[in-house]
């Protein structure tokens, strides 16, 4: 603990903190408490809110098919998204770390989609996947494969939602991996080379273990972010076809702002919070050295 320096005003730090703290309290901490309170009430457009205890949770978990649909969808989405992101970010990180020509160009190309807004990303891919005029169908037809109404079939819809989200966020995770790779001292590779290790052995026994901290960051961050997914999916498919790509945040959005089911929305939010909370605690327990946010 630092000593209080002479002449330091006792009031000053509180004044400096006040604006930020006020926004925090009014727009995060109070709403978080309010959310808990709401989750214990049943609301409907026609009646006054009534205290129902854990009924909202019971209803969601035992009777609400749509909630389970959203859970199922987000489960598939998270598994697909995190697997692809982790795998490809390592691949691209390793490739970009090689002694190659045009490194700057390739790094920018892989990073560029990260800059785009989710709305733009979704619109770009709607145009590519357009069943009548889309570029993808044109390519398929040239090689003799049938055209598909990609976003109108449930399984393809889920595939493309995952693909597009990976496309949009891969550059971000590849950069984390790349930074991790660049912190590995080259001397270690030289030592491995002297010991007769080939490229693969070098990767397996030098790179991978030293990359583990970065990989954990990629894993947990990508998991948290895919649980929170909304924008990309909402604009790309609107949760459809039917409810095939309806994710948990859209379920909450729908209950809160389209169906006037505040209690159910709050209860579902709390469940999502528990998931994110456990992931974050897990991340903390892993005792990372990097101070990652």
């Amino acid at each position: 603990m630092k000593k209080v320096s002479p002449g330091q005003s006792m009031l000053a730090p509180y004044l400096f903190l006040a604006p930020n703290l006020a926004v925090f309290v009014i727009f995060i901490i109070v709403p978080a408490g309010y959310n808990f309170y709401l989750s214990l009430f049943r609301t409907s457009p026609f009646r006054l809110p009534a205290f129902v205890g854990a009924d909202n949770f019971r209803y969601l978990l035992q009777q609400d098919d749509l909630f389970w649909r959203a859970i199922w969808n987000i489960g598939i989405f998270v598994v697909g998204d995190v697997t692809l992101l982790t795998g490809f970010s390592v691949l691209i990180g390793v490739l970009l770390n090689q002694d190659i020509r045009c490194r700057g160009f390739f790094r920018s190309a892989f990073f560029y989609p990260v800059l785009l807004s989710p709305v733009v990303v979704a619109l770009v891919w709607q145009w590519i996947l357009n069943s009548q005029f889309g570029a993808l169908n044109a390519i398929l037809q040239t090689v003799g494969l049938p055209r598909q109404p990609w976003l109108l079939k449930p399984n393809w819809g889920m595939f493309w939602v995952i693909f597009v989200h990976v496309w949009a966020t891969l550059g971000f995770f590849a950069l984390i991996v790349l930074a991790g790779l660049q912190s590995i001292p080259p001397a270690l590779y030289e030592a491995a080379l002297i010991d007769g290790a080939g490229r693969w052995a070098g990767f397996r026994h030098v790179t991978l273990p030293l990359l583990m901290p970065s990989l954990m960051v990629v894993l947990i961050l990508s998991m948290v972010r895919s649980f929170e997914v909304f924008d990309h999916v909402y604009v790309l498919t609107g949760g459809g076809p039917g409810t095939a790509t309806l994710m948990i945040v859209q379920f909450i959005y729908r209950a809160a702002f389209q169906l006037d089911q505040a209690g159910l929305a709050a209860a579902a939010s709390l469940i999502l919070f528990l998931v994110i909370f456990s992931l974050t605690v897990f991340q903390y327990l892993l005792g990372r050295r990097r101070e990652t946010i």
Binding site: S5, G7, L21, A32, L38, L116, V124, A179, A256
Partner: protein, 292 residues
């Protein structure tokens, strides 16, 4: 590891481990990179090219790659039919005001947390970090209810204020300020400088590299934000660019030529800005894992 300076942005070239030579793994690496770059960059390029094509060319199958004739009517038509400039003005207002607000209040909080000793400091810091676990997606309904109570529903302030006190920003700036020597403050106090003047004239200028990182991220968060404006705003004239784009698409199921032109127009500003500032973004992600 705190962000120490903007120079981290350009990772040093790896030590050349061996002479450049052409073998199978190298060829494979280039094939992967070129293919990958095409997949990452191609779709946007395709949209840009499409946006310059005439109606009959856009809706032709199979499509042409380069426009047979480069035309601008998609752009002029879209600008006439939609209040693009109004949406642009709203987006710029939100982005600029929100970024200034974020920088101001986050840096003030970071200054207090890094350069003062006071009761409750560590608890406050922990609470601020703890709010990382409560993303807006989890509390959107109650935050909206608070906004509505305060009369900020359907106002740009309603979009701007709630996400302004970012825990990420406070953390990033605090870590940076911790590396500045305390003697600076003591010397300034001896010279009779007030607390605010120390913050404004001594600490803030020295924090410039970290402020630059936060600025770039704030611009990107705000420019690209969709869910929160979608909740707060339901009047057409207050739409941000992202809301406007999503709305066009919903209304113009078949008028793709306008949607394409609008999409390209909305990408231009962010592409130009980040052409210049990419290194701050890269260093922000690489050194702190800041969310992109």
């Amino acid at each position: 590891m705190p962000v120490t300076s903007g120079t981290l942005a350009q990772p040093s070239a790896p030590v050349r481990r061996r002479r450049r030579r052409v073998d199978l793994p190298t060829v494979l690496a280039y094939v992967c990179l070129v293919l990958g770059a095409a997949i990452m960059f191609g779709p946007v390029l395709w949209v840009v090219l499409s946006s310059f094509k005439g109606l009959n060319e856009i809706y032709r199958f199979p499509p042409t790659f380069l426009p047979e004739q480069w035309i601008l009517t998609n752009y002029t038509g879209a600008l006439q039919r939609f209040p693009f400039l109004r949406y642009l003005a709203n987006s710029v207002t939100v982005t600029v005001v929100a970024t200034l607000l974020t920088l101001t209040i986050n840096s003030m909080a970071a200054f207090a947390l890094s350069k003062y000793v006071f009761r409750g400091r560590d608890a406050i810091f922990l609470i601020i970090l703890g709010t990382l676990m409560i993303p807006l997606q989890v509390i959107m309904l109650p935050v909206y209810l608070v906004i509505a109570k305060l009369g900020m529903a359907n106002t740009l302030w309603g979009i701007i204020i709630p996400p302004a006190a970012t825990p990420t920003g406070v953390f990033l700036l605090r870590q940076y300020m911790l590396t500045l020597p305390d003697e600076l403050l003591e010397a300034a106090r001896i010279d009779g400088a007030g607390e605010f003047r120390i913050y404004w004239q001594i600490i803030l200028p020295l924090t410039a590299p970290a402020l630059a990182v936060l600025t770039v991220f704030s611009i990107m968060w705000r420019w690209n934000d969709f869910l929160w404006p979608l909740i707060v705003i339901n009047q057409d004239r207050l739409f941000t660019l992202q809301l406007g784009l999503a709305r066009f698409r919903g209304e113009l199921v078949t008028d793709w030529h306008y949607v394409l032109a609008m999409t390209v127009l909305s990408i231009v500003p962010i592409t130009i800005i980040f052409g210049f500032l990419q290194r701050y973004l890269v260093s922000g992600i690489a050194t702190t894992g800041l969310k992109g």
